[in-house]
Amino acid sequence: MLTIDNLHATVADTPILKGLSLTVAAGEIHAIMGPNGAGKSTLAYVLGGRPGYEVTEGSVTFMGQDLFAMEPHERAAAGLFLGFQYPVEIPGVSFVQFLREALNSQRKARGEDPLSGGDFLKLAKAKAALLKLDMEMLKRQVNVGFSGGEKKRAEMVQMGILDPSFAVLDETDSGLDIDALRVVGEGINAIMRDPSKGVLLITHYQRLLDVVKPDKVSVLAAGRIAQTGGPELAQRLEEEGYDAVMADA
């Protein structure tokens, strides 16, 4: 579903990704763990096409297409969702308006009819309920005045509404308390656990992986995949730390 081959990328001329290769098959949840500064967020932004993140070598194939030939909004329409570590506040634009534009832009790009206001609100209500987010919050301005945890739940509500084929989730668990972590984890399962979907789950902690059980776990260090294994690898990382696990590798 997603094939990353020998990816090199720079940020402000500093090389961050240095030959990263990774494949995620349909039906797979692949966790990426790694120490601070390893390049985890850079990987997420490169996949999402954020300006300032320059690919200098390598390729990414997403559902048979060259990902880098697509603009960021085209990647979204093609089914890629990027869950932000730091969701952006947009004063003056309501979540309802923002998400309806987003969904209908994607539908238009795929040659589908736009969703009516009523149908959209029904869908938004259902997904907000799934993530235990008060529907009233979606009537407010995008992320403005939301707590860290509310922002992350709102990210998952967005994912539920947009229903992507593939999600890259960048530290979606950061800033969540234990209860919210469970709600978000179960949300990810409900929305993305599907034989036709895939997830790249970037996280620092084992806790989220207790809820969203990954099929594979990779360790990202110094811009490359240092090690790939099953869920037990995450367990070992939690117990022994990155240095010990990577020294054994």
Partner: protein, 257 residues
């Protein structure tokens, strides 16, 4: 009816030039060629004591000058879009009697070489009057958006509360915006707030929208809409505010940036 006009320049019927403070950013060619009566005349309006009036205005090319006297306890609200050119100016001079209120929301919006401006002079002539002005400029090409807002508080106009806020968003290099708040306060128990900022489209917000599948032109429109929306927030009729917004945004569609 007592008229308390404070207008030191009233006697001057000479052709204004860019050397005059209130005309410093005006289009010099227009000033040189326009009919003198247009540049020196006023349309006059009086809001009787205790009454409220709200108006919208679509500014047309050239100069429009409006002089308003807002009676005791009366309210005058004016919401304007200035998307015209090559030179378009709306000048409003308001005199506030005791406890009166002046509300102004203005949006300039344009490209090419257009010069669009709002010039206000708000005279707090009696105590307890309030005024609030919000102007937003959205410019592209080599256009210019200006807001010159002068607030005068006479000596006995205690408990005056005057606020002025200007923000400009420049969509392209080469576009510009000017503002010059002027406060002349002779009373001592007053509140006068003013703020100004010039910026560009929020790149983080644009990317966030793109990441959700919103095409760049739609994202820009949403952000501009949010930006200029501030100027129409105080409109009493929400559907009218929306049609003002749509009217302004239509300019952006035509721009095809």
């Amino acid at each position: 009816m007592t008229r308390l006009w404070l207008m030191p320049e009233a006697a001057i019927l000479e052709r204004p030039t860019n050397r005059d403070e209130a005309w410093r950013y005006a289009d010099a060619d227009y000033l040189a060629e326009a009919e003198l009566a247009l540049l020196t005349g006023w349309q006059e309006l009086h809001i009787p004591a205790g009454e409220a009036r709200e108006e919208t205005r679509i500014v047309e090319a050239g100069v429009e000058r409006l002089r308003v006297n807002v009676g005791q306890g009366a309210r005058y609200a004016l919401f304007a879009i200035n998307a015209a050119g090559p030179y378009a100016r709306l000048e409003v001079e308001v005199t506030l009697e005791e406890g009166a209120h002046f509300e102004f929301g203005g949006v300039t919006l344009g490209g090419g070489n257009k010069v669009q401006e709002f010039v206000t002079r708000t005279i707090h002539a009696q105590p307890n009057a309030t005024s609030n002005q919000i102007v937003r400029a959205v410019q592209w090409g080599r256009s210019t958006g200006n807001f010159l807002g002068r607030i005068e508080v006479v000596k006995h106009a205690q408990k005056t509360d005057a606020a002025q806020n200007f923000r400009a968003m420049l969509l392209e290099k080469g576009a510009s915006a000017n503002t010059k708040p002027e406060l002349e306060i002779f009373a001592d128990d007053v509140q006068c707030a003013h703020g100004a900022a010039i910026g560009q489209l929020d790149e983080a917000a644009r990317y966030y929208m793109a990441a959700r599948g919103i095409a760049p032109d739609v994202a820009r429109k949403l952000l501009v809409q949010a930006f200029i929306g501030d100027a129409f927030v105080e409109m009493s009729d929400q559907s009218q505010a929306e049609s003002m917004l749509e009217r302004a945004l239509a300019q952006l569609d035509e721009a095809a940036l």
